[in-house]
Structures are given as structure tokens and as C-alpha cells.
């Protein structure tokens, strides 16, 4: 196992480099201009735009730009945003805490909803509970987040006036009141995202548990006289966890990437909105930095997932 981990980690490095090259190439060749707003401004002479482009090295060949980016990244310099003229790492660090809290909590919420409901629904397939749970799950993932977000705003902010819907990252209060205000404004984005994610996870967990619950060793455990809940928890769930681990591992990097639509609707200043506005503005240094960290996380979590398979299911072997 140790050799396997080492080998995977070693492979991770060239694969990351390969990914970064593809990313960079895509960004370089995709149409769009960091200085587009200047284009509609008749006051800005063309030379200024051209000047800006050379200043930021935009007219150099792609390979040169890539090497320049890579070497400075290794040296710890993550680049300089074209749009804000600010260091990229500063931009990311400003938004990291909010992203981790709001998006992270929503994933936790999703898991907290999906696990018990999925498992219970699978133990009583096609019962009333199962049907209701399924219906809510379908509604949950058939409706896009931009829709449920607006619905929540209409109901909870406008109609009932319980919750604010514009997220403020600089609440003036301190202490207990700060937590209260932060909670109120985070509740809706966390709920919207968590419910959407939870809906699809419920279905996956239910399906995974259904697959396992009919297997012989479960029947054996039951006939051994074990309490039903012990059967479920100790035997069924643990073995049904493989797809769950896959899904969670796939989803965890997204916590860093934020959730673009939800952040947009509630104005949560997370990394997702930074990413989308950078993409729309063609702010390459920011996009590269965020996607590069994102790809590191993807590779890391997939490796962890692979290791977990081996631990959860002893028959899985790695050579």
C-alpha cells in the first residue's frame, strides 16, 4: 500500500503539470479580451489598450507565457490580476474563508440530509416514506439553483421578511450578535445549495444501499439475531459507502471552487463568483491560479478516495 501511495504521488506531479498546460492553452486560445470594457469607451485611444496588452505580456507567444507563468508560480508569485491590478493570492485569500464556510457547510448539510434519508428509504423500498423521499429528491434536482434561490428569496426575504438576502462580508457587530447576523444571512445560500446537492446524493445512497441490502451476508447477519440497526449500520452502510466516497471525493474540490449560481444570486463573495467574473473578463492570472489549485485538490481527493476503497472493501487490491 505504501508503495502504491508513493507511486501515485509521484505520478501526480507530471499529471498536474500536464493539466496546467492544457488549462493554459485553453485560456490562451479562447476568445475574449481582458480589456473589453475599454473597447466601448471612445475616450480610450487604441494605443492605451495596446500598451496594456504588452505590459501584461498578452501579445507574446503562448509557450513563452506559459513558461513565465509556471516559473513564477513555483517561486510563489501567483500573478497579478489584469482587472483589479491586485496580487492574485490576495484576491483568493480574501474570499477563501467565506467560501469554505458557506459552501463547506452546504456539503455537510447535503450529507446530513442524504445519508439518513437514503439509507432509511432503501430499507423500506417503495413504501410511503420512500415515495415521498424520492419525489422530493426529484423536485430537488430538477429545479436549478437559480430557481430555488429566487424562490427562497421571494418567500423568506420579501414575503416573510425573516432573512436578509444580500450577503455582507463585513458585519459590524461583534460577539454573539455577529454569529446571529452571519447565521441569518448564510442560511439561505447554504440551504439552497445543500438541498440541491442532497437531492442527488439521496438517490445515489438509496441505490447503493439497495444493492447491498439484498446480499447474502446481510441475510446472514439478520439471521444471526443482530438488531436491525446494527445490521444496517455495521454491515450495510459500510459496504454501500463505496459510491458515496466517490461522490464526496468528486464534490469536495468544489468547495474550493465555490458555487457560481448560488454566489451570484445571494451575492456571496466566494471563489466561485471570482472565477466566473474572471472568466467573463478574461483575467487569465486569476483563472489559472484558481483552476490550478482546484486541479491539485481534484487529484488529491481522488487519490484519497482510491485509498478509502481499499480500506472499505478488503477485496479491492492494488498492484
Amino acid at each position: 500500500m505504501g508503495r502504491y501511495v508513493l507511486r501515485r504521488l509521484l505520478i501526480a506531479i507530471p499529471s498536474l503539470i500536464g493539466i496546467s498546460m492544457v488549462l493554459f492553452a485553453v485560456l490562451a486560445f479562447a476568445p475574449g479580451d481582458p480589456f473589453e470594457e475599454l473597447a466601448t469607451n471612445p475616450n480610450v485611444p487604441a494605443e492605451v489598450r495596446a500598451n496594456l496588452r504588452t505590459q501584461f505580456g498578452l501579445d507574446d507567444p503562448v509557450a513563452v507565457r506559459y513558461v513565465r507563468w509556471f516559473t513564477s508560480m513555483m517561486a510563489g508569485d501567483w500573478g497579478f490580476s489584469f482587472v483589479s491590478r491586485v496580487d492574485v493570492d490576495q484576491l483568493i485569500l480574501q474570499r477563501l474563508p467565506v467560501t469554505l464556510v458557506v459552501i463547506g457547510l452546504s456539503q455537510v448539510l447535503a450529507l446530513l440530509i442524504a445519508l439518513p434519508i437514503g439509507v432509511y428509504a432503501a430499507t423500506r423500498p417503495y413504501s410511503l416514506f420512500d415515495q415521498i423521499a424520492n419525489t422530493f429528491a426529484f423536485i430537488g434536482f430538477s429545479l436549478p439553483t437559480f430557481f430555488t434561490g429566487i424562490l427562497f428569496i421571494l418567500v423568506f426575504s420579501i414575503h416573510l421578511d425573516w432573512l436578509p438576502f444580500v450577503f455582507r462580508s463585513d458585519i459590524a457587530e461583534t460577539g454573539w450578535r455577529w454569529w446571529w447576523e452571519e447565521g441569518k444571512q448564510s442560511l439561505m445560500p447554504i440551504a439552497v445549495l445543500g438541498l440541491f446537492q442532497g437531492a442527488s446524493w439521496t438517490r445515489f445512497i438509496r441505490s447503493a444501499v439497495l444493492d447491498v441490502i439484498r446480499l447474502d451476508y446481510v441475510t446472514t447477519a439478520r439471521s444471526k439475531g443482530l438488531d436491525e440497526s446494527a445490521v444496517i449500520v455495521k454491515h450495510v452502510v459500510r459496504n454501500a459507502l463505496t459510491p458515496v466516497v466517490t461522490l464526496v471525493a468528486l464534490q469536495l474540490p468544489a468547495i474550493f471552487g465555490g458555487a457560481i449560481v448560488t454566489e451570484q444570486i445571494f451575492r456571496v463573495p466566494g471563489i466561485g463568483s471570482l472565477l466566473i467574473s474572471s472568466i467573463l473578463a478574461n483575467d487569465t492570472p486569476v483563472i489559472m491560479a484558481v483552476t490550478f489549485v482546484f486541479s491539485c485538490l481534484v487529484i488529491l481527493f481522488n487519490l484519497l478516495a482510491d485509498l478509502l476503497y481499499g480500506w472499505l472493501d478488503p477485496r479491492v487490491s492494488y498492484r
Binding site: I158, R203, L250, I299, N302
Partner: protein
Amino acid sequence: MPRATARISLGAEAWRRFRRHRLALAGALILALVMLAVALGPLVWPVPINDIDFAAKLQSASWHHPFGTDDLGQDLLARMLYGGRISIAVGLAAMLIAVVVGTIVGAVSGMSRGAVDAALMWLTDLFLSLPQLPLLLLIIYLFRDALKALVGTEAGMFILIVAVIGGFRWMPVARLVRAQFLSLREKEFVEAARALGATPLRQVVRHILPNSLGPVIVAGTIDVAAAIIAESTLSFLGLGFPPDIPTWGRLLYDAKDYLDIAPHWALFPGAAIFLTVLSINYIGDGLRDALDPRKVM
């Protein structure tokens, strides 16, 4: 010597079992109805989709407009029937691409080890890391004109959108399938098949694959909904179908600012997506149960 029993093929057996699954049949029926409606609907309800009539703006359901009208006075039923074709086609096609590609990649990766597995997982990680938007922009700009010349504007757009949406959803399926394969590969019945001399292909197709379909089917149903919605997001960014084509996702998007003024506008497309997803899911459940040898029907 006893007479050999008549051989029934796997397919016919599965079909027989499917037919006995009530919910699956219900799902199949609903889907068939929806598809029939969008296919023949415009012939039965010949109201034009872009007939602007400001006097009839934002009206809720009536005899004249069974699904109401939008903010330009256009008939929603007609728009939904017209757009439904595209939505369902995009949803199903994108889902098939995601599922087929994902299953193949996951299966190959799960069965082989070492270099092939590592290479395929690298590819999966690459696609997972890629920011979809710039890649979408790039692909569409690279291939739009070529496809337009080859198959015409609408078909070209359709191929591009389906490829792009499906192309970004195969990775979770691949990982799920691979995970299933990793554990199923070592199970006794597969070992037995191997001992009997089954080729890897036969092991996969006859033994492992049918048992790993669970997550694939769930992913499939979720992907249909996601594909329909993704198309509207693309259109919001100017990369999908032109803004006057009323796909269901687009209708939902157009209606979102009028939720408190004209809820009917969002209600119908939302319900349509929900029904489609529901029916596909029940069909999937039926398929899974039908193919599962241990389930007694």
C-alpha cells in the same frame, strides 16, 4: 435424460421482468406521452410560438391559452411543445453520451490496472479540473462554423451542445463505474467465471456490468435534468440555442424574475422537467431490477 429447458435470452427475460414492475411501466407510459406530445403537439395545437400579442401579456391559464402567456403575450403551451422536442432530445442525448463514455472509461479503467488505469484516471482528473466556460467558448468558436457548413445551423448547434454538456458529465460516471468494478472484479462469481475461462470481455458484459448499473442509472436520470438545465445556462451565456428558441430550461430562466407576478410561467416548464425526470427514473429503476438476477419479481 431430462429434456433441456428452452433457452430464454437475457434480453427477453429482462423484458418480461420489466413488464411486471408497475412503476417502471408507469414511467415508460408518462415518458411516451410526453414524447408524443412534443412530437405531434404542434400539429394538434397550431398556435405559432412567437406571435407577439401585448394585449394578452402575462395571463394565467385560460381556454384560449391553456398554459397562459409570457411577457410578450406568446402562448406558453405552443412554446413548451416546440421547445420540448429540443429539451428532451438534448437531455436524452447528452445523458447517453455521458453514460456511455463514462461507463466505457470506468470499465476499462477498472478492469485493467497500472498504466491504462493511471492514464484514464489522469484524463478524468483533467476533465474534472477544466473550467467549463472557457473550454465551451473555445470549442464552440472552433467548431461552430465547420459544423454549420456540414449539417446546417440547427443540427450543428444541437451536436455541439449535446457534445459539450455530455462531455462534461461523464467523469463522475466513470469514477463510479470504476469503483464498482474494483470491488466486483474480486467477487466470487466473477472469479468463478474467470476460472471457467471467460474472457475479460465476457466477464465484464455478462457479469460485472449488469451488477454495477445501479449508480449508473441514478447518474443517468440526474444527468437528464442537469442537461436540460445546462442548456439554458449555455443560452444565458450566448452559447446555446438562439434566445428565441423556447427550450424548457430557457423558459424557466426567462420566468425567474416574474415568479411573484406570473408564477404560471415557471410552473409549467418546471413541472415538465420534473415529469420527464421522474419517468426516466422509474424506467431506470425497472431496468435495474429487471437485470438484477437476485431480485425475485
